[in-house]
C-alpha cells in the first residue's frame, strides 16, 4: 500500500467519523419533537420522492424559471454522486476498485456521462454565481456567504476533476480518453506541453484537491443551508399527503399543554422541516405579510425554529431549561409575537415551497400557546372572542338578527327529508349588510334553478374558522362539537356554503369531529347548475371587464380554481381577466387567519396591495367568492378613490343579475 493511500485512508476515516458525528448531533435533536405519523401510504410517499425531487417538479414549478438551473445541477450532482463514490472507494483501494475494471462499453459510457455532467455542473454553478451577483432576485439572500462557499466548493471539485483526468490523459494512462471530451481538452490544450514529472505532480495535486474538497463539502453540509441536500428528499417523503388545510386537534384535559412554547413541543416533522429549508425565498416572494413590510417572513420563521432547536436542543436532551425563548426574544432563533400575528394563513408559502415545509400549522401552534396558555393576544381580539363565545358571531350581534334577509329572499327553514340542501349562510352572509346582498343573490339563483334548500335561521352558529386560525382551539373545539351535533340533529346531509372559510371549516376541520356532510361551495354548485342547463341567462349581463380574485380558502386550500371562472365565462361570454398573481399564486386579500379582526398598523395594507394588483388590469368589476375578500376590495377601492368606477361583486350577484 502506497503512502498516499495510507494517508487518504486516515483522512477518510476521520472525515466520515466527523460527518457521522455531525449528523448524529443534528438529527438526534429532531427526535425531541412530538410524534406524528408520517409513514402511512408508503407507495404515495415514494412517488412523491420520484415526482418532486427526482423529477425536480419542486424547483421548476410556479413559474420559477431559474429553477431549471437547479434541476440541471441536481441531476449532474446525482450522476456525479456515483462518480464520487467510485472516486472515494478507488482512493481507499486503488488496486481493487476502479471504473476501468468494468467492461469497456460500460466504462466508456460512464466516463462520457461523468465528463459531460461535470461541465454542465460547472456551467450551472457559473450561471448561479452570475445570477447572484448580476441580477439577484429580491427574495433570496443573494450575497449569502454560505451560498458562495458551496458554489465555490462545487466549482473547485469540477475543476479538480478536469485537472486530474486531463493530466492522466496527457500522461496517456487514461483508457477512456476518447470519451472524455472536456478532460481531453484540458489534457491536450492546457497541460499538453508539460513534462512527465510535472504531469505526474499535477495529477497528484488535482487528485488531492478533489479528495479534500469532496470530504470538506460533505462535512460542511450539516452546518450550512445545503443541509437540504441531505434532508429535502426525506422531507418530500414525509410530506403531508393531503392539503394542509386544517389544524390538528388538541386534547383538553387537566395538566395538558396547549400550543407550542418550546421548540421541543413541535412535532419531529416540524423540526425536520426546519433542517430542510433551502432558503430559496419563494415563500417570501409570495407571502402577503412579508411583501407588505410586516415582521413575518416565512423563511426567517423556519430559520429561527432551526436556530432555536440548535441552541436549546442539546440542553433539552439533558432536561435543562431553554436558553433562548422560541417566542418573543428579540434575537436570531426566536420568533416575535408580531410575526406570529401577522400571518393571514393564506398558504402561499406552503404552496410554493419546493420541499413541502408546512409553515401555517407551526404559526397556529405558536398562536395557541399565546392564546390558550398565556391569554396574550392583540387587544382587538378580546371583544372578538367574547362576541363569538357569547353570541356566536364576530360582531356580537343578537342571533335573531340572522334572519333579517330571509323574508326578502323567501327563505324557509331547513326540514329534514323535505329540503335537499341546507344553505349555511355564515355570519357575514347573515349579518353583514353588504354580504346579505350576496346571500339574497345566492337564494335567487338557487330558486331560479329549482334547488330545494332551507336555512337554520337564528339557530345557525358561527363555524369558528377565525377562532381556530387565531389559535383559540379550546373555543373552536366547543363550537365544532356544537355545530356538528346541531347539523346531525337537524338531519342535514348536503350543505351549500357561500363563504370559503365556512366551506373549509365544515368540510375539512369538522371531519376531525366525525362530520361527513357533503359540502358544496356556491361557486361549485352554480357551475354545475349551469352545466346541467338549469340556469338561463338573458345575455345582457353588463359587468364590463371582470377580473377574478381567488380566495385562499377556496383556491389554495380546496383547489377550486376553474369553477368560478367557468361561471363568469358562461354569464359574460368571456373568460375573466387575470391578475398577474392568480390561482395557486393568488395574493391574499389580507382577511384570512383571523386577520379580518385585527388592526394592520405596520407596513403597507395587504388589501390595498391586492386592490392595486386588480386595478392594474383595468377592470370594471372585481369578482370574488368570499365575504372577507369582498370587504377588503371595497375598502381598497375606497382607499384608491376608485369605488365609483370599479365595483366588487360576488359570483352569485353576477349570476343573479344576469338571470333570465
Amino acid at each position: 500500500m502506497s503512502a498516499n493511500t495510507l494517508i487518504f485512508i486516515v483522512i477518510f476515516i476521520i472525515s466520515i467519523a466527523f460527518f457521522g458525528w455531525s449528523c448524529y448531533h443534528r438529527f438526534r435533536l429532531v427526535a425531541l419533537g412530538k410524534s406524528d405519523n408520517r409513514f402511512k401510504d408508503i407507495a404515495k410517499r415514494i412517488w412523491s420522492v420520484i415526482y418532486y425531487p427526482f423529477a425536480q417538479r419542486c424547483t421548476i414549478s410556479h413559474g420559477y424559471r431559474f429553477g431549471i438551473n437547479h434541476a440541471i445541477l441536481f441531476w449532474a450532482f446525482m450522476l456525479l454522486l456515483i462518480a464520487n463514490t467510485e472516486f472515494l472507494l478507488h482512493g481507499l483501494a486503488p488496486d481493487y476498485i476502479s471504473l476501468s475494471k468494468l467492461p469497456a462499453g460500460a466504462y466508456h459510457t460512464l466516463a462520457w456521462i461523468f465528463d459531460i455532467a461535470s461541465i454542465i455542473a460547472l456551467l450551472a454553478v457559473c450561471s448561479a454565481v452570475i445570477r447572484r451577483l448580476v441580477f439577484p432576485p429580491s427574495y433570496i439572500d443573494a450575497k449569502s456567504g454560505d451560498a458562495f462557499i458551496i458554489l465555490g466548493l462545487i466549482a473547485t471539485l469540477m475543476i479538480a476533476f478536469f485537472g486530474m483526468h486531463g493530466a492522466e490523459i496527457a500522461q496517456g494512462v487514461e483508457k477512456a480518453a476518447g470519451y472524455m471530451p472536456i478532460s481531453a481538452f484540458t489534457g491536450t490544450i492546457i497541460l499538453g506541453g508539460m513534462s512527465a514529472w510535472a504531469l505526474e505532480t499535477a495529477a497528484n495535486v488535482f487528485w488531492w484537491i478533489h479528495a479534500i474538497v469532496l470530504l470538506a463539502f460533505l462535512n460542511y453540509l450539516p452546518y450550512s443551508k445545503h443541509m437540504h441536500i441531505l434532508t429535502s428528499i426525506p422531507n418530500c417523503f414525509f410530506r403531508s399527503l393531503e392539503k394542509v388545510n386544517t389544524q390538528p386537534r388538541e386534547e383538553f384535559a387537566k395538566g395538558n399543554i396547549y400550543g407550542v412554547e418550546r421548540v421541543d413541543q413541535f412535532t419531529w416533522k416540524d423540526l425536520f422541516d426546519s433542517y430542510s429549508c433551502t432558503e430559496c425565498g419563494r415563500c417570501v416572494d409570495n407571502c402577503p405579510a412579508a411583501l407588505t413590510g410586516k415582521a413575518l417572513e416565512p423563511k426567517e420563521l423556519i430559520h429561527n425554529i432551526k436556530v432555536n432547536m440548535l441552541k436549546n436542543g442539546p440542553g433539552f436532551i439533558q432536561n435543562k431549561e431553554p436558553v433562548l425563548s422560541l417566542i418573543g426574544d428579540d434575537k436570531e432563533g426566536s420568533v416575535s409575537e408580531e410575526a406570529i400575528w401577522d400571518c393571514t394563513t393564506c398558504g402561499a408559502c406552503m404552496e410554493v415551497c419546493p420541499v413541502f415545509i408546512e409553515h401555517v400549522p407551526k404559526i397556529v401552534d405558536m398562536r395557541r400557546d399565546l392564546v390558550e396558555m398565556k391569554a396574550k393576544f392583540p387587544p382587538e381580539l378580546l371583544n372578538f372572542f367574547e362576541n363569538i363565545e357569547g353570541r356566536s358571531n364576530p360582531w356580537g350581534i343578537a342571533p335573531e338578527k340572522r334572519t333579517a334577509w330571509m323574508e326578502e329572499a323567501g327563505a324557509k327553514p331547513f326540514e329534514a327529508g323535505v329540503t335537499e340542501y341546507l344553505f349555511y349562510v355564515g355570519c357575514a352572509g347573515a349579518l353583514d349588510p353588504r354580504s346579505r346582498h350576496v346571500t339574497v343573490a345566492t337564494a335567487k339563483v338557487l330558486n331560479a334553478a329549482g334547488v330545494s334548500w332551507g336555512v337554520l335561521g337564528k339557530e345557525e352558529l358561527c363555524c369558528g374558522d377565525s377562532v381556530r386560525r387565531l389559535g383559540n382551539e379550546y373555543l373552536f373545539d366547543v363550537m365544532a362539537k356544537k355545530n356538528v351535533k346541531l347539523l346531525k340533529e337537524k338531519g342535514v346531509q348536503k350543505i351549500i356554503v357561500q363563504c370559503p372559510h365556512g366551506y373549509n371549516t365544515l368540510k375539512n376541520d369538522y371531519r376531525q369531529y366525525g362530520a361527513d356532510f357533503e359540502i358544496i361551495h356556491h361557486a361549485e354548485l352554480i357551475n354545475s347548475l349551469i352545466e346541467q342547463g338549469r340556469l338561463k341567462f338573458n345575455g345582457n349581463g353588463d359587468f364590463g371587464k371582470v377580473v377574478f380574485h381567488d380566495s385562499c380558502y377556496l383556491g389554495r386550500y380546496n383547489s377550486i380554481y376553474e369553477q368560478p371562472r367557468k361561471v363568469i365565462a358562461a354569464v359574460t361570454n368571456k373568460e375573466p381577466a387575470e391578475m398577474e398573481r392568480n390561482r395557486e399564486k393568488a395574493f391574499c386579500c389580507g382577511g384570512g387567519g383571523g386577520r379580518m379582526w385585527l388592526e394592520e398598523s405596520v407596513g403597507d395594507r395587504i388589501y390595498v396591495e391586492r386592490t392595486e394588483q386588480a386595478l392594474k388590469e383595468e377592470p370594471d368589476t372585481i369578482c370574488t367568492c368570499c365575504p372577507y375578500c369582498m370587504t377588503m376590495f371595497e375598502d381598497g377601492l375606497k382607499d384608491k378613490d376608485s369605488e365609483d368606477s370599479v365595483r366588487v361583486l360576488d359570483l352569485a350577484e353576477i349570476v343573479a343579475a344576469a338571470l333570465e
Binding site: 387537566k254 396547549y258 392564546v371 390558550e372 396558555m373 378580546l382 357569547g390 353570541r391 333579517a404 349588510p433
Partner: protein, 270 residues
C-alpha cells in the same frame, strides 16, 4: 388580605325584549352574561392580587345558575367564589341587595382583613348604580365611585389614592382602607382565561351561602326588605326627531342621509 369583587349576572340586554302587555322583561331563552361593568371590577381586583398577593373573593347574589358566571371568575384567577342564593333573597331591590352583599362581606372579614371591595359602576339591566353605594354605607367603608385609575396603594399606612372620572374633569382622592371602589370600563382591559385555568375552574367549587348561613331576618331581605318595586318597563314613545334611512340594511345610504341632514342644519360643514 382580601379583595372582594361583586359581580352580577344579567340578561344579555341586546337580546331582551319587553312584553308590551305586562311591561316586564321577557327573560325566556335570553342568554345571561356577566354585567359588562363588573368585568373591569374583577380585573382590578385580580391586578391587585398579581401585585400584592391578595386573596380575591368574588361574590354574587342571584339564582343558582349564577354559578356559571362565578366559575368564569374563578377561571380568570379569583381564589374563591361565593354565591348568595336563596328564594328569600329573590325580588330584592338595590336596598335589600346591598344588605345581603354587605352582610356577606362582613362575614368574609371574619376570615381575613378586607382591603377593598370592587363593584362595576352600575348594572346594565337595572342601571341604578346604587348597590355599590349601598354596600359602602352598610359596611361603613369610604366609597370611591367612577374610578378610572388606582394610583397608589400604601399598605403600611392603609391608604389608597385613586382617580375618578367625572364629566369633563378628573378628581384624585385619597382615603383610608378598606374602601368600596366602583370602576368605569376605561379603567382596564379585562383579561381572558387561559385554558388550564378554565379547566381548573370547571372542577372548583362555588360556595353557596343561603339564608341558613347568612341568617338575615326576612323582613330585611328579598321582596319584603325592598323599599321599591318595579311597576312597569317600557320603551318611551319617540316624541321628536326622525329616523333617517335604514341603517341596518343600508348603512351607506343612512350615513349619506345623516351627513346631508347635518350639513343642512349647519351642525357640520365641509
Amino acid at each position: 388580605m382580601i379583595v372582594v369583587a361583586c359581580v352580577k349576572q344579567v340578561p344579555d340586554t341586546t337580546q331582551v325584549k319587553t312584553d308590551p302587555v305586562t311591561g316586564t322583561l321577557i327573560r325566556e331563552g335570553v342568554p345571561f352574561i356577566v354585567n359588562p361593568f363588573d368585568s373591569p371590577a374583577l380585573e382590578e381586583a385580580l391586578k391587585l392580587k398579581d401585585k400584592y398577593g391578595f386573596r380575591v373573593v368574588v361574590i354574587s347574589m342571584g339564582p343558582p345558575n349564577t354559578e356559571v358566571t362565578l366559575k368564569k371568575a374563578l377561571a380568570l384567577g379569583a381564589d374563591d367564589a361565593v354565591l348568595l342564593s336563596d328564594r328569600v333573597f329573590g325580588g330584592a331591590d338595590t336596598l335589600a341587595t346591598s344588605k345581603v352583599l354587605a352582610e356577606a362581606i362582613s362575614k368574609l372579614s371574619q376570615e381575613d382583613e378586607i382591603a377593598a371591595v370592587f363593584c362595576g359602576r352600575q348594572s346594565i339591566d337595572g342601571d341604578t348604580a346604587q348597590v355599590g353605594a349601598g354596600i359602602a354605607t352598610r359596611l361603613g367603608y369610604t366609597q370611591l365611585t367612577l374610578v378610572d385609575q388606582i394610583q397608589e396603594l400604601d399598605l403600611p399606612i392603609k391608604k389608597v389614592k385613586v382617580r375618578r372620572k367625572l364629566e369633563g374633569r378628573h378628581e384624585v382622592v385619597e382615603t383610608p382602607l378598606p374602601a368600596l371602589i366602583t370602576v368605569v370600563r376605561e379603567i382596564n382591559q379585562p383579561r381572558y382565561p387561559t385554558v388550564p385555568m378554565r379547566l381548573m375552574s370547571g372542577d372548583s367549587e362555588v360556595k353557596l351561602w343561603n339564608n341558613s348561613i347568612m341568617e338575615l331576618p326576612t323582613e330585611l331581605i328579598g321582596l319584603e326588605g325592598s323599599a321599591t318595586q318595579v311597576r312597569k318597563i317600557f320603551s318611551p314613545e319617540r316624541t321628536e326627531g326622525e329616523i333617517l334611512g335604514d341603517g341596518e340594511n343600508n348603512p351607506d345610504e343612512a350615513a349619506r342621509l345623516l351627513i346631508d341632514a347635518m350639513l343642512q342644519k349647519d351642525i357640520i360643514s365641509i
